[in-house]
């Protein structure tokens, strides 16, 4: 998935420089260009190993500590870090479609985060989106990382969907009826090839079923509480028709093979409440946001070095939850608090049922935003992360502290204030 897109991206950067040099009036045929710069000074009290702990956090998805290395975009070293630099091009293709492209650069590599088109002129409240995009499930999933209220992904999303949330290739169809109550219904047919869920195992011994392998359904509703208050409630369901996991271990001699396949489903509820600022420059604004997800998977061991294991069932359930609040404490200053937890239910049943243990975290974030184009954030987190020891069959929790001093700068086209 990760290709070296650097040449394309560099030419796009040059192109953006060229456009910026033009006077303002004649750029309407060019896509809007924005660049997000993001970096952080980071430290923790366990010798910089907290991201490793988070990677090994006990959960029912994926292998046991042998996942795709290098996927941990959130992984920072102690000291200064350049995080993802995002380049976004967007605009109207013609009267019928809008298109959007986001490329993220990190560690000298470029990755296509989103590339999609969306209809504009379908009648009666219908819209179709096609390409690679952030899924419409949940609330936080559709938010771009630069608009997050915290420097990192919450544990519920991290453990069930991965650092970027559910982002996949396919089609989204939404319908918004012309009712008094805002209602949005959506269905997505996705390829099912992403970080946590789907047929992502690259092995000759396990064939991938034809896509789309991941289907989502979501409904959102929002009553009108006037100009100063807004509430949105949502329900989501994800069905993964073909979910694969690799529990093998190539470090062992001889190599241990264990490939699993089956299906998985997730349902979730989300709620967000916002109060518009009463003072100027964001003072007095309130945002409350919470989501809960429950994952159920049922797999069969398809290939294993221990032939007796083949055909055995592996079932598991895991849930995740977070709640966070952000308050505009002063003009251009906001204070956020977050509690996130995963694995309140964290059961995996192979020969016998084991509880993998829960992980939770408390986070405080103080953000200063001189304008809507830049922000600086000081974030402190206290985490209790469980790790499952397969030999002993028990899980143990380790506590640590993390501190981030993050900057997030947006250059170029005026970003939109998406709800």
């Amino acid at each position: 998935m990760k290709k070296n897109l650097m040449p394309i991206a560099v030419s796009a950067m040059l192109f953006s420089g060229f456009v910026a040099a033009q006077t303002n009036n004649d750029t309407s045929f060019n896509p809007k260009i924005s660049v997000i710069l993001d970096g952080a000074y980071y430290s923790d009290n366990i010798d910089g190993e907290s991201f490793e702990r988070l990677e090994e956090m006990s959960g029912i998805l994926g292998g046991h500590g042998h996942g795709d290395e290098g996927h941990g975009h959130g992984g920072l070293s102690r000291g200064f870090n350049l995080r993802e630099t995002e380049l976004t091009l967007s605009g109207s293709v013609d009267p019928y479609y809008d298109a959007w492209l986001t490329v993220a650069f990190a560690d000298g590599e470029a990755e296509l985060e989103e590339a999609y088109f969306e209809t504009r002129l379908l009648p009666a409240g219908w819209k179709i989106k096609g390409g690679k995009f952030l899924s419409g499930v949940g609330y936080h999933n559709g938010q771009h990382a630069h608009s997050w209220d915290f420097a990192d992904q919450n544990l519920a999303y991290l453990s069930l969907f991965g650092d970027h949330g559910l982002v996949d290739t396919g089609v989204q169809i939404t319908y918004q009826p012309a009712t008094d109550l805002y209602t949005l219904m959506g269905v997505e047919l996705l390829q099912g090839d992403q970080e946590k869920l789907g047929a992502s195992v690259d092995s000759e011994q396990l064939e991938q079923e034809a896509g789309p392998r991941l289907t989502t359904v979501f409904v959102k509703a929002a009553p009108d509480f006037g100009a100063d208050h807004a509430l949105q409630l949502g329900v989501s369901y994800i069905n993964v028709g073909n979910h694969q996991e690799d529990h093998g271990d190539t470090d062992e001699i001889p190599t241990v093979v264990e490939l699993l396949e089956g299906d998985a489903s997730v349902w979730g509820v989300d709620a967000v409440y916002k109060k518009s600022p009463t003072g100027s420059y964001g003072q007095g604004g309130v945002k409350l946001q919470a989501e809960y997800f429950y994952l159920d998977k049922e797999l069969t061991i398809e290939q294993a070095s221990d032939i007796d294991e083949i055909g055995e069932k592996v079932v598991g359930q895991q849930d995740g939850f977070y709640i966070h609040a952000v308050y505009g404490v002063a003009p251009r200053w906001s204070l956020g608090a977050r509690y996130d937890v995963t694995g309140m239910t964290n059961d995996l049943e192979e020969e016998e049922k084991v509880d993998l243990g829960d992980s939770s975290r408390m986070t405080l974030a103080l953000t200063w935003y001189p304008t809507e184009f830049s922000k600086f954030r000081l974030q402190f987190a206290r985490a209790d992360i469980s790790k499952f020891d397969e030999e002993a069959g028990t899980s143990a929790s380790e506590s640590f502290n993390q501190i981030f001093l993050q900057y997030n700068i947006s250059l170029g086209a005026h970003g939109s204030h998406q709800f």
Partner: protein
Amino acid sequence: MLKRLLIIIFPLFLFAEESLAELQVFACEPELESLVQELGGELVTTYVATHAKQDVHHIQARPSLINRVRRADLVLCTGASLEVGWLPVLLQKGANPKVQKEPGLFLAANQVERLDVGQKADRSQGDVHPEGNPHVMLDPRKVLPIAELLTQRLGLLDPRHQETYQANFERFKQRWLNAITRWNELAKPLRGKPVVVHHQSWVYLLNWLGMELVATLEPLPGIPPSTSHLSKLIKQMAQAPAYTIIRSPFADKKGSQWLSKKTGICAIELPFTVGGNSDANDLFGLFDSTIALLINAKSCGGG
């Protein structure tokens, strides 16, 4: 078979979309809602996205607004990038092909000549609008051509009532011209008076009244007043005192009140839009109240 089904279903959709007799108007700001009410009367149902206590630069594209855009026949906004942070999202998420562009979309500031056009699009200069200052509705002379074009638009969207809209406009025009004459007469003493404003949103009003903008409390548009900038203003006011300090209902009171206390110059809150104070209950009240407050501003003792 499919064709027959479509023939049955399609009119149902049309019926659902056309069943509301009145024109549904989504107005971004209260002064535009007031204008379309003058012109549309009983024939329009209006919804206004913002109120006077909100800074229209910073509005969330909340779902209830998306829902109103979904159901609108006409989206009536200021344009010139005033709503750039949220209107594009509403149009994009609203899934309503009628209002994506003209005639279902009417941008008031695009209909008239704007002041401060062609500023360099350079954010180091703060929140600038290269398309020109968007707050055109604060010059009553510009309200009239906007009203006339909006009348034509209403007639285009709802041809059955074209004559009613035209008659409403003629009536409004007469009242408005009389009001302008009255305001001009009242505002004569204000001509040439220097003023300090909180944000660059008053240029059209000052331009109309012939008042002179000598300073802004914000060091740059969209950047809150700083202590060092305010101290500079005190020095400036000591040398050449302004007549008054103006802010809008959504602006932070502290800066203008502090400067007022230090200089003895009256700080006043003008309604800025319809609903900005209890007297500004429509477009006429907006200017009646604005002129009255400006005239009374001398009683603070300053300039």
